[in-house]
Symmetry: D2
Subunit: 297 residues, 4 copies
């Protein structure tokens, strides 16, 4: 998450026009939401600000809420390709890999977008920063089959999720929004009874049976942990991940006698993240001949 642009105390003290200028883009093409919140200042916490924006939307006439939903761009849709999308949406869709789709994938999104609009009369809205690529498609298909009343509710909740993430990136203050999950690890060497330092760790997203995409890379410190979480300070996109540990190199550096092809060399731990705001602590407890993992805390 990039450094926040505004301090909550400053926002509380600004003229209304400046406040709306600062936060008008939190809800896509709907600066009136910031305007409604401006009247409820001051806010003690960022969460209170978020709640006020949500309350503004919920108190608005149905037509305004419809326009809010209708104003969102499609995923990987025409607006994106035509360069007509709001800046925040451009960045969000790019981070989810939607700006690098193959033609076949574009065609699939186009078909899904068309089907969704035909069925619900609205663009499909999803907080893509909470999803891996496979998870976006799974959600899309599941929601296409939903009851319209319920789907409208779901879409609005996604708008609030998008807004919360934008707000968390824009405003610093008491009480950070609970929008961040975490993937962390810890390597224990049970041959020596000590943390394993200097182990290379890679995190990959598993996008299909044969394809993975690198996400992060680190090395364990003296306590066997990485200095920072492999993903932290933002939602963990719902997806399958693989941690890869350079265990063979670690043992070689310690001078442990290993076979020419070591029993354990690169150790992959494959696990799924279903809760983007969850903490996934995935330790590796290992010797040259054994290892284990579990969801820790």
């Amino acid at each position: 998450m990039t450094a926040a642009t505004h301090r909550l105390t400053d926002l509380n003290a600004m003229p209304e026009a400046a406040f709306v200028a600062a936060l008008g883009a939190v809800f896509e093409h709907a600066p009136w939401v910031a305007g409604g919140a401006a009247a409820r200042r001051p806010f003690a916490t960022v969460q209170a600000l978020a709640d006020a924006m949500r309350a503004t939307v919920e108190a608005a006439p149905e037509a305004a809420r419809h326009a809010l939903l209708a104003g969102h761009p499609e995923l990987a849709g025409a607006a994106a390709r035509a360069g007509a999308m709001a800046a925040a949406s451009v960045a969000e869709q790019a981070a989810a890999g939607l700006s690098r789709l193959s033609e076949a994938e574009h065609a699939r999104f186009a078909a899904l977008n068309a089907a969704y609009r035909a069925r619900f009369g609205l663009p499909f809205i999803l907080c893509v920063r909470r999803h891996g690529r496979a998870s976006i498609l799974r959600s899309f298909e599941a929601r296409l089959a939903a009851d319209p009343e319920r789907e409208r509710h779901t879409a609005l909740e996604e708008v609030f999720r998008i807004a919360a993430l934008r707000l968390a990136g824009l405003v610093a203050g008491e009480g950070p929004l609970a929008v961040a999950g975490r993937i962390s690890t810890h390597v224990l060497d049970t041959m020596r009874g000590a943390p394993a330092a200097g182990v290379a760790v890679e995190l990959h997203e598993v996008v299909s049976a044969t394809e993975t995409v690198p996400v992060a890379r680190a090395e364990t410190n003296a306590d066997g942990r990485t200095d920072a979480p492999l993903i932290g300070g933002r939602p963990v996109p719902a997806a399958t991940y693989e941690l890869r540990f350079g265990l063979g190199d670690y043992h070689r550096r310690l001078g442990v006698a290993l076979p020419e092809i070591p029993f354990l060399d690169i150790v992959p731990l494959r696990f799924g993240v279903a809760d983007p705001e969850g903490h996934y602590h995935v330790p590796l407890v290992a010797t040259p001949w054994s290892y284990q993992t579990y969801r820790g805390s």
Copy 2:
């Protein structure tokens, strides 16, 4: 290993010509080795027969031994491409994947074969049934750098290994040759305290950072084991392997409540085999939220 063609008791009783016809191909283009062993009959065990063939080679004049080495085909070499290789060698090289090389790989083998012949005046000989593809290339490069005296010894040992495997496939009798290794597994469900039955298991050879080749597929039985080892009755080619367990499906069938993206779904265990005649028992001890493995027995 295919069913043996001959019984040791029959071989002991045959006329010498029939004996040589039966076993003449055990040493490539060298039926004289079978001839020498024929005179030492009867044999109580297949190992005694193998020892007699080895003794025949070791007692032969140096020129005969040189001709024996010189008579072997190159790996993925001109003889193979021209269809001029002995039947046993054809099958052995094919099983090691050498009949399906890309042009680039062919070029690499051609260069190595040429360098080896230039340095040692002989074809490169390796018992390929004991090696995965990466291991063949690693051996090739290591042996290219060896001292000629020592390399000559290594080559002859490889000839004996090739012969032992051919003999084990041809002759049934007391005392099977110790030419077979094993990969086996066992799945324990420690959420229920019982073996995990009905778990799909796949064994793959890892041929590069991004490519794996399926080797075997099975399902665990009521005891949590596969009915037969995943590799057994033959050497385990030295290589890196990956076992993949359908743990998510197993838990779903039991009715365990799992997240939409389960923490554990397909569980990969990646391990190396350095000893083709070793027993690699690689169990999976698991719950929906943890697993471990070790080299067992």
Copy 3:
């Protein structure tokens, strides 16, 4: 279990009187049960013989079944102290530790026996070879509270269990009775990736928070197992057990550098057996700094 005295084929061929002499004591003070079974010979399996004895009891008049129950001795009761108990019962009660009770324990059994007889008009019958001492008392108290109809059924099932165990000890033949459970172990050294040989193993029954009683002692062989199960060929008395492994001595013999007080020295694994006919495989997977166990198979 001691070597069986009779072969089933011999029993099938004996005169009836000899058959009754051989098996008359299987049901306490009730040789008529053997007599009834004699008429149904021959038996293909020991189980068929056991079934015939059971059928004889079930077909007998109610008064005969009542007499059968009434003819059993109390546990740790007057008959035992007066030396008036059948030989088989003497041995069975002794094995369960009932011949070595303190005066306080005797008083407790006397009170329970009296309460049971007052409530049900019969002695309390339990197949004590299936229970540890705490489990005997727990069963006694639970059954004192049972409905008389149901308790009568329970008592008769215990008579059949006692008879099955006596029969299994007396008769050898096809189809052994399913009366035996097992406690076994396996020690894996995951620092070296091999079975741990030469590890001293003790099995204790935990009879109270502070008292344990040694049950068996063994040493692991080259495969990391004991040559025979620690308990096998008989029911495992329902109780809490503790396996103790001399892990520190094992590592010292291997020359592993350990602290003056090793992190792991005697490793206790404490576990409960609720099913006397169950197989309890309790492995130890260990390094000098870690261990684990699970109910295996």
Copy 4:
């Protein structure tokens, strides 16, 4: 460790006499050590103060150092029984269990004290807060066999350890002395993939094959940890310990179906502490049918 009595900044500013009154008892019957350190004020850290006291001892004439050693009381010796020991020593020996010895144990200490004094002409000095009872006796016997020169050095180091602990208890300030170790735990429930809350944990010292002494008792919190280490803020006496976890009760409360005698009920983890200043993190990773531990961090 009790709350410190003095702040380092105050000690730096005191008149010398007050300084010596405050710290005179840090070295047994040797206020001159505090006097020597007074002249080196001010101290930036408690460690600098400890170093100054040590330097004072090391710079003193040999006779003064001899008197310092000679002024220490014997362990469980005549001074202790006669009530003639310095207050700090009384508390230290009591905490190590030396005030509750049986007559036989007293006799053993008396014999060791006499032998030591005969051999070295000094009382045996040991920082008993760093040792369990068995470890005290082991040290005593080992040092009785030492070379006098080396033993004199060892005794002085023990004096410095005693002083460091007294100082840590008396003075608060920057840079706490590294005199504390820690025993902590963490319970993970891998059946549910979450920390195990509400698990009763007991820590016992194992003083002989049949005797344990309770040391601490706690319950795991929502993160599966105890709110405070089981031992912390002081050296962990070198000894064998047993952690006992009420795992059966935990699973019963969750409504997990368990056998009448659960496979796992009270789970003991037995481990040794050789380094009193070490951090011993001993987690329990468990299901109703499996568990493991390791020295963590």
